[in-house]
Symmetry: C2
Subunit: 245 residues, 2 copies
């Protein structure tokens, strides 16, 4: 058996998220269906770096699987893409050793959150960015982001439904870039809790609008209570951008 590591981009719009769920169309379901076809009916399970929710996109999700087929690594994208729907595109594949694991071997992840501020909604962006037609104070958001960088207990910044006990994570950097009425947040960290990037983005946007100050964000972290932080920003602005190994 050979382990194959794949990088995949997907438009999350038509999917009920990444992970298989009974009766739902998911990204994992489509990829496993394609692999089953390639393996002549044999079930092939894939393991990804993590889940993404309904409507969330990926530019660089990573998954691995084991195969008995002797397809050269550089052929896997063509072979899989020919069986996949156009919303899912394999961009890279390589052979890895059997101890590589998409989830446990990951050392860092990058997520991006995209916002556009134009007064009128844009029909071409509705599935790919959050419409936020308000005056935003970028400097105050950057000041708030400074408090979030580093190792913290992010209990206030994850869904109350989060099942993991240890909510301490490290954010290495938060970039906030503005260009032509678009704002892009980029977060690099050692791991992210359930809904964490959406809550961070929703909170920073509310800082930008003046509902909270940068100092308030420090208090939110200390509160360790989901009710203390801002809103969960909508899924369509979120992209799993890159997984680092």
């Amino acid at each position: 058996m050979q382990r194959i590591k794949c990088t995949v981009a997907y438009d999350g719009t038509p999917f009920a998220g990444y992970q298989v769920q009974p009766g739902k169309r998911t990204v994992q379901l489509e990829i496993e269906k394609a692999l089953r076809e390639i393996h002549k009916g044999e079930d092939v399970k894939i393991t990804a770096s993590g889940r993404t929710d309904a409507g969330v996109h990926a530019k660089g999700q990573v998954f691995h699987f084991d195969t008995g087929l002797s397809i050269p690594e550089e052929k896997w994208p063509t072979v899989l893409n020919s069986k996949l729907p156009p919303e899912i595109v394999l961009t890279w594949a390589e052979k890895v050793s059997g101890d590589f694991h998409s989830r446990f071997s990951a050392v860092k992840k990058e997520y991006r959150y995209c916002v556009y501020q134009n007064q009128a909604a844009d029909p071409f962006k509705r599935h790919f960015a959050l419409h936020y037609p308000f005056q935003i104070n970028i400097e105050e958001m950057r000041n708030a982001a400074e408090y979030l960088i580093g190792e913290h207990d992010f209990t206030s910044f994850c869904s109350a439904k989060t099942e993991v006990a240890d909510k301490v994570r490290t954010i290495y950097s938060i970039g906030i870039e503005e260009a032509e009425e678009e704002i892009t947040f980029s977060y690099i960290g050692n791991g992210f809790l359930y809904n964490m990037v959406r809550i961070l983005s929703g909170t920073l946007l509310e800082v930008g609008r003046g509902k909270y100050t940068a100092d308030d964000v420090r208090g939110m972290l200390e509160a360790a209570d989901r009710g203390a932080a801002g809103k969960t920003a909508a899924p369509q602005g979120l992209y799993l951008w890159k997984v680092y190994y």
Copy 2:
């Protein structure tokens, strides 16, 4: 009665084109449905600058309608957008005199056709540009475009199903811009025949790949035969960009 001129953007992906067709979801149907609601059940017919096909987009389609309501012109976008689905967004509205006509008063139109050349398909562009992963000679396409500019009989460059008798049109300019593996064609002319921009774009791309020379394009015009020109490029790359009055 007051005539209102509106500019509208739409993502053509989910529609069976602009024009009302029995049993189909179209852009005109959605706008007339919204207007009927605003006019308390009264039918309001809209007239656009022209049709767009299934999957074709608009950044600046123009239509007009007559209303007895005394809504200020600057309020119409908000009023209509609140009733329209998110794929259709009114970007401008103004009062015009009763002799203004979206179709007959138009003096020029601009269409754009978008192509991306990346080797792998891009799931985020699949509805918004043509995937054309080939080496393209931009200079040869520009040379070919020179033959197309001006007043010509465009019989070779419209669908054989075109019903209008006079196939003479004037193209004022053809721009071909390349940036980051994307090519954008922009056409400004006094009018365009059925499928004309898609056939022009398909033919120019085949010139870019070397199937035809620029000189061949001159011959295609002279042939006055749809069979002489290149392929009809796919609808998702096409945008009705602007209508000039």
